[in-house]
Symmetry: C2
Subunit: 319 residues, 2 copies
């Protein structure tokens, strides 16, 4: 699907070229990330489902499963739009006449408990008045890591990659976006345990006199491509390690926490469910195999407990 395909009668009138530029970026990023992941996996191939949303727009869902490295993963893009509904007004606090959203969303669940799960999402949202004029626009995105065992080399590499991207454009940005991430991916119902060890996260970033549309576009592009630099080297370092049934068991317990966060707290999931998104693409994020055991607690001082403590107490990893 190209930007041109979207200029159907139901689509909002895109009053600025930027919308098309954003769409092209998102699709190119999808292609490039899929190529990098597929090369690193070495066995499984992405399969694509192109879907249409009855109310407007659609997406390209690309899934991969049962690979050498990736047990289940998806790198999805969507371009969705429509009239602002009462449900969106009341529950999502969205005003205006019609809306548009385009982004990439990715979740990789590796087979090995020694390779972390990773998630990233980069998106732009626009609101239009009745004449189709853009009345609001914001950017959001982020990448976060969910390891099953804490490896400081990996954690530092991951965070440092994003800190470098942030520092290059605004020295105060990483601190803010890292804290956002630590504050967002939280299982509040589990004593504020984080889903993982964080990364960066931003949302509702509106262009202003200091940071223009082009600034936020360039930043999203830098972060989006930093995914490859931040994650592929971790796969390469850890994919050959042997693991035990106990390691896998612990991974599945932690995947239970991932499931809880996504279904109970995640705004992206809730937005998808409230806007009649494609359910298989939204819930693609759920892990392939999961365990829920009553009151499971790792042995204090164990490697598993070290990871749990890292999720309970966010800290600095980058230099």
């Amino acid at each position: 699907m190209t930007a041109a395909d979207l200029h159907r009668s139901e689509a909002p009138v895109f009053t600025e070229d930027f919308t098309g530029t954003w769409i092209a970026f998102i699709h190119q990023l999808q292609d490039d990330i899929c190529a990098a992941l597929q090369a690193s996996d070495g066995l499984a191939k992405f399969e694509e489902d192109v879907w249409e949303r009855p109310e407007g727009g659609g997406g390209r869902t690309r899934v991969i499963s049962n690979g050498n490295v990736i047990e289940k993963g998806g790198v999805n893009t969507s371009i969705v739009f429509g009239k602002v509904t009462d449900l969106m007004r009341s529950q999502l606090k969205i005003n205006g006449d019609s809306w548009f959203a385009c982004g990439l969303s990715l979740v990789i669940h590796p087979l090995s408990p020694f390779v972390p799960t990773v998630h990233c999402n980069y998106r732009m949202f626009e609101l239009y008045d009745e004449a189709g004029k853009v009345i609001d626009r914001w950017f959001g995105g982020g990448t976060d890591l969910t390891p099953y065992y804490l490896n400081l080399e990996d954690a530092t590499h991951f965070h440092q990659t994003y800190k470098n991207v942030c520092d290059a454009v605004d020295p105060s940005l990483y601190v803010e976006l890292k804290k956002n991430c630590d504050d967002y991916f939280v299982n509040t119902h589990r004593n504020n345990e984080r889903r993982g060890i964080g990364g960066i996260f931003y949302d509702y970033k509106r262009p202003d006199a200091t940071k223009s549309i082009d600034w936020w576009f360039a930043f999203a592009k830098a972060c989006g491509y930093a995914f490859i630099d931040s994650y592929i080297p971790i796969i390469e370092r850890r994919k050959g390690l042997e693991f035990t049934a106990e390691n896998k068991h612990w991974q599945e317990i932690r995947r239970g926490r991932y499931t809880e966060f996504n279904l109970v707290h995640d705004r992206g999931t809730i937005f998808g469910l409230k806007t009649n998104g494609r359910i298989e693409s939204i819930l693609m994020s759920l892990p392939p195999t999961v365990r829920f055991e009553y009151n499971y607690q790792p042995v204090p001082g164990s490697e598993e407990d070290t990871l749990l403590q890292a999720c309970l107490h966010p800290r600095e990893y980058a230099n």
Copy 2:
């Protein structure tokens, strides 16, 4: 914990003997159901965790796992109370000064895909004014079956048991409560697929001129004990059947739907999370092992598809 133990300074003043009667019933039902399930399992034993809720009350969580029949199960009671919070007012639409709730909640996840999962819950809720006078009281409850393969003998036996209980006191009741159940346990985000094949469900039942407090108490008692009659014979008929890895795989896919319902839609779970309930007792309901596969569809016309169709299209099983 007895009703007397609850008469601490923080507890609401129970102005009527009925509250204590209800508590005694709930605890006796817990004992009797645990005894019946343990006898049928023949291997695993229930273990009890008694817990206190900082804001008032507590519970008895009884869990069983890795049995001959039961892979994971819990039969829990709780007695919880406190001041009505702003969160409860805005999100749960609860008024009054303080509240009290006591009930039994049970979920059994069998090892065999040929033994259905079952859930039941019987509860009473009271609201008090500032003087501790009861200003509102309602009853809720129900039992529902979630098979992995549709067995008409089992489905009919299960529904007939509850229809008989209902018919004995009000010939119009079963139709209403069966419909409530079909309308409640729905994954609205999955084309209104039901969690299972239903049972009965009622909520916000306030005593009135036709049906007194005693009437609703007797009804809850009859339904609560009907659990044993409705479910134990199904275990006995199916527990010896051999099953394949494919049968287990399908069970784990369906358990994914169970997880989605409980975390996204279930009012009991949401109430627990909003009222600082004991998280391990609330999430005890989640299945032990679960699979989430992208866009999994059973083969049309297969036994798995027959079950799926039964979940998509509720029907009558009782005579």
